[in-house]
């Protein structure tokens, strides 16, 4: 027996606001929940930002023409 083939998702994810709307929440209810997230969960540190910055800065460095010190 085998697992079914993994299902490949190709579309852009919905934003939290789009999701809330599709689930039937009003704009006011959405903002109320976001306020609750701020109060209960508090500040959240991005866990992917460092890797993204490192990648983009490497890309910038590699594409820049090399310059010798004067």
């Amino acid at each position: 027996m085998a697992y079914p083939k993994p299902f490949i998702i190709k579309t852009r994810p919905d934003t939290p606001e789009e999701t809330a709307k599709r689930l039937g929440l009003s704009k006011a209810e959405f903002h109320k929940i976001i306020k609750l997230v701020d109060e209960i969960v508090g500040p959240v540190s991005p866990i992917k930002s460092k890797a993204v910055h490192a990648r983009s800065s490497r890309a910038r460095v590699s594409s820049r023409p090399s310059r010798l010190p004067a």
Partner: protein
């Protein structure tokens, strides 16, 4: 026209078929966190009002609108509260899902279980489909979701999804207290949890837009 609109399939929507009991709450949160972290949108029968006369029809419409269906049969057993009886809802909804596939609907369904080889005994009609075994743990759920879905964006690791799950668990605890809830299996709690997990995924930078 309305019927045609209802039948439109959203590939990002994932229907969750699971038991509503407090022992399952951790896995419920793990499914919501994991799917949201992967850029998908959890949907559930909780969105269908319990007292609606056309509940079955609305459930069917919701099922047909989702690109994927997840059926967790890990707790198909006697209910803890009297009168004790087997839980037929989850196998029933799996039956609807398989019927949809046989009728040519374009969606995928997945079966999750906590124990290997149990499903072959409890539901031999679907022998040939291996269930995803989550061991009854949130980590297991997040791991197996990664096996079921492949995303063509940067794929979150299980560790990242665990961070998401922990944030959602913190929110759920506070949400229960503030709303005087004893459980999270209510329509508003489901809406709030899904919205929160999507927001946390954005804040953690787990999925890009």
């Amino acid at each position: 026209m309305a019927q045609q609109r209802d039948r439109r399939v959203n590939s990002k929507d994932v229907f969750l078929n699971f038991p509503f009991d407090r022992w399952y709450e951790r896995l419920y949160l793990a499914f919501i966190a994991g799917l949201s972290g992967m850029g998908l949108t959890p949907r559930c029968v909780l969105e269908v009002p319990a007292g609606a006369a056309n509940r079955l029809e609305r459930l069917f419409t919701l099922l047909t609108s989702c690109g994927s269906l997840i059926h967790d049969l890990s707790r198909v057993e006697l209910s803890p509260d009297p009168p004790r009886c087997p839980r037929f809802n989850m196998p029933f909804e799996l039956g609807l899902a398989t019927a949809l596939t046989l009728a040519g609907y374009q969606h995928r369904w997945f079966v999750f279980e906590s124990q290997p080889f149990r499903l072959q005994k409890s539901l031999s009609d679907i022998n040939g489909f291996d269930p995803y075994i989550h061991d009854g743990t949130p980590e297991g759920v997040l791991r197996e979701l990664g096996n079921a879905f492949v995303i063509n964006r940067s794929r979150p690791s299980v560790e990242e999804l665990i961070v998401m799950y922990q944030h959602l668990k913190t929110f759920a605890k506070g949400f229960k207290v503030r709303n005087g809830l004893s459980e999270l299996f209510t329509p508003y709690a489901f809406q709030a949890l899904v919205t929160t997990s999507q927001e946390v995924a954005v804040r953690l930078g787990i999925r890009g837009y």
